[in-house]
């Protein structure tokens, strides 16, 4: 199902891209312009996605797919977005500590002390390396 959704999204993206090429000049074979390759590429992408959608309609052998923990996936994304948002507000060290602690807990690290210690040590090391050694202007 995910595969079909992704392919349809590619088809939609290619159609939108083709629509946007209207703003560009296609030119002629003698004098191709900035829209020449984009139009050809978009047409090829649309054809390939249509063939893929057609092929996906045919019954397929069921293969063993690894089980994906979607709850964990969503929590990781939320964590990443919060980290990036907090980055500039509360500063690199605190944001990294909170993010690492949260991430380690999501990634099934047992206990509270070990993740807290790991997060604090790693955040300190990262600050020392990036801010002081590599002199990257971190917030």
């Amino acid at each position: 199902m995910t595969e079909k959704i992704i392919t349809v999204l590619f088809l939609l993206g290619s159609i939108i891209y083709l629509y946007l090429t209207q703003d560009l000049t296609f030119g002629t074979l003698n004098s191709p312009k900035s829209g020449f390759l984009p139009v050809l590429a978009a047409l090829l992408a649309i054809i390939v996605t249509l063939v893929l959608i057609f092929k996906q309609r045919q019954p397929k052998k069921i293969t063993d797919q690894p089980h994906v923990d979607w709850t964990k996936f969503i929590f990781i994304i939320i964590g990443l977005v919060f980290y990036i948002t907090l980055f500039n507000i509360i500063g690199y060290f605190v944001a990294t500590f909170i993010f690492l602690f949260y991430f380690l807990k999501i990634a099934d690290t047992t206990g509270w002390l070990l993740p807290a210690l790991l997060a604090a040590t790693s955040a300190t090391i990262f600050v020392l390396i990036f801010k002081y050694y590599l002199t990257i202007p971190l917030p």
């Binding site: 900035s34 590429a41 990443l80 380690l104 990634a107």
Partner: protein, 502 residues
């Protein structure tokens, strides 16, 4: 003779302390990347790109190349000891390496893999030393039609060889070409698909894209898929000695693997992976006891492990001489070149001889360093496998995001990384190989320039592209390749139909 002098000059550059240190760091990181499943070469190089800004360009490129070829050495360790390939190119090593480990010959398999990698890696670098300069000289005569033909046929072959589905790889490469058109058109100066966002005029930042798709995408995949971490066997130094019989049986496969790997490496696509499979098939055919394959035949380790290392050196030839990367690893290496303001291509040897020959000489040194790292120190690296991925991955995520932030000091870049990471995750889930996407973005502008200028030169005649000797030959090869694959697909379809009817 001239090549030898230039190579010696290269050695004088590569043994400078900063370059030697960069080479050592590169091969060490490469070995780690190869050993640790879940961390791949492309994402590691992408992650380190921003940190190389302060480095001398030669040292930085020596380090990135070290990571690139070093990862192929380390890939065999987990294949042999745990039946888990650390790299795609080491998948085939599992077939005989793991049964050897089960029989208590894992140490010998590791030694043969390391020695084979060293010998074949050196064969590959010798090939690179000998073939790159004449090819670069010949490439000076290449015009836009030749570059267009090379880029197009390279992409066509790549779509067949990369991933599990040619259609999916074609779509990925095409979308890559489409994404490559975003930004200022280099010929007309017109902004394309930028929606008025000034930052997009420069096009997509490749390191951000690679960090997202390969870095964060990989982290999401590793942490959300439930896999048990295997028990790590302990390894003593004395276990590493192969028997005399094992040494005798490994010599020819190592040399054959070196040759096969080099030839396959010249083709577009994931050369290291393909060469290891080709070498395995070849060794099975050459063996007097093919039935031993799959049950711990040393030839099944020696050949493929040699082939993938030789292939890696060969993949550098199109990158250094033509400026065209045809696999994910060289595509990200090209980003490394560009970040340091260096354009690889036919003029690299003449304009930057110190960098070119220093880089090649460092690969000879790197191979020796890798042999040292992978033999006496292998037991230490095996211990690293005990690092739980649920601890390692959050740290890699912070490293990736911090590295990305340091490129432009932009928080927006970090959101892009997460966005591309989610895309990379779903691409992996649905078996869309992401490497052709990256290559499409890089090769796309070259393809467009070649096509447009080629058509102008030939007065709008597509046939004109075929009438030039070199571009005609390359395009004809591409057409034969397509026709062959279409015929094969029809035959397969007809065969399936017959089977269903009967």
């Amino acid at each position: 003779m001239e090549i030898l002098n230039l190579l010696l000059q290269g050695f004088s550059i590569s043994i400078l302390p900063s370059n030697l240190a960069a080479c050592t760091i590169g091969v060490l990181i490469g070995t780690l990347v190869g050993i640790l499943p879940g961390i791949d070469t492309i994402s590691t190089i992408a992650l380190l790109l921003p940190f190389s800004y302060g480095m001398d360009s030669t040292a930085a490129l020596i380090m990135f190349s070290g990571i690139y070829y070093g990862s192929k050495y380390g890939g065999s360790t987990t294949s042999i000891l745990l039946n888990v390939p650390g790299e795609a190119a080491a998948v085939v090593t599992c077939l005989d390496g793991y049964p050897m480990a089960q029989k208590g010959r894992g140490g010998a398999a590791l030694t043969v893999a390391a020695l084979g990698s060293f010998v074949a890696g050196t064969i590959g670098v010798i090939g690179l030393t000998l073939f790159a300069p004449p090819l670069a000289q010949a490439a000076l005569a290449f015009g836009p039609p030749e570059y267009f033909s090379l880029a197009l046929v390279g992409l066509i072959i790549l779509t067949k060889l990369a991933g599990t589905s040619m259609l999916k790889s074609t779509l990925m490469a095409t979308i890559g070409v489409m994404l490559g058109t975003i930004g200022l058109d280099s010929m007309s100066g017109i902004s394309r698909f930028t929606f008025g966002i000034d930052e997009l005029n420069r096009g997509f930042d490749l390191s951000i894209l690679a960090m997202g798709i390969f870095g964060i995408g990989e982290i999401l995949t590793v942490l959300t898929e439930s896999k048990d971490q295997s028990t790590i066997p302990s390894l003593r130094f004395r276990d590493l000695y192969p028997s005399r019989e094992e040494c005798r049986r490994s010599i020819l496969p190592i040399f054959r693997g070196g040759m096969v790997g080099f030839l396959v490496g010249l083709l577009p696509g994931p050369a290291a992976t393909i060469s290891s499979f080709v070498s395995y098939a070849l060794e099975k055919r050459c063996s007097k006891n093919p039935d031993q394959f799959g049950h711990g035949a040393i030839e099944g380790v020696a050949g493929p492990e040699s082939a993938n290392n030789s292939a890696i050196s060969a993949t550098m030839i199109p990158l250094l001489t033509l400026g065209l990367p045809f696999c994910g690893g060289t595509a990200i290496l090209l980003s490394g070149f560009m970040i340091h303001g260096i354009t690889p291509g036919p003029t690299l040897i003449t304009q930057q001889p110190d960098l070119f020959w220093g880089l090649i000489a460092s690969m000879y040194i790197g191979n020796i360093l890798l042999l040292i790292i992978n033999l006496p120190l292998i037991s230490i690296f095996v211990q690293l496998l005990k690092t739980p991925l649920h601890i390692l991955m959050p740290l890699v995520a912070v490293l990736t995001l911090t590295g990305a932030y340091s490129i432009n000091n932009s928080v927006l870049d970090l959101f892009w990384i997460v966005f591309f990471g989610v895309i990379g995750f779903f691409l992996r889930q649905t078996n869309f190989e992401p490497a052709p996407l990256l290559i499409g973005i890089i090769v796309g502008p070259e393809l467009e320039r070649g096509l447009i200028q080629g058509l102008i030169i030939s007065n709008g005649s597509i046939w004109g592209l075929f009438t030039r000797p070199l571009s005609g030959t390359i395009l004809t090869l591409g057409v034969i390749f397509i026709l062959y694959n279409i015929t094969r697909s029809f035959r397969k379809f007809a065969h399936l139909g017959k089977e269903m009817n009967s």
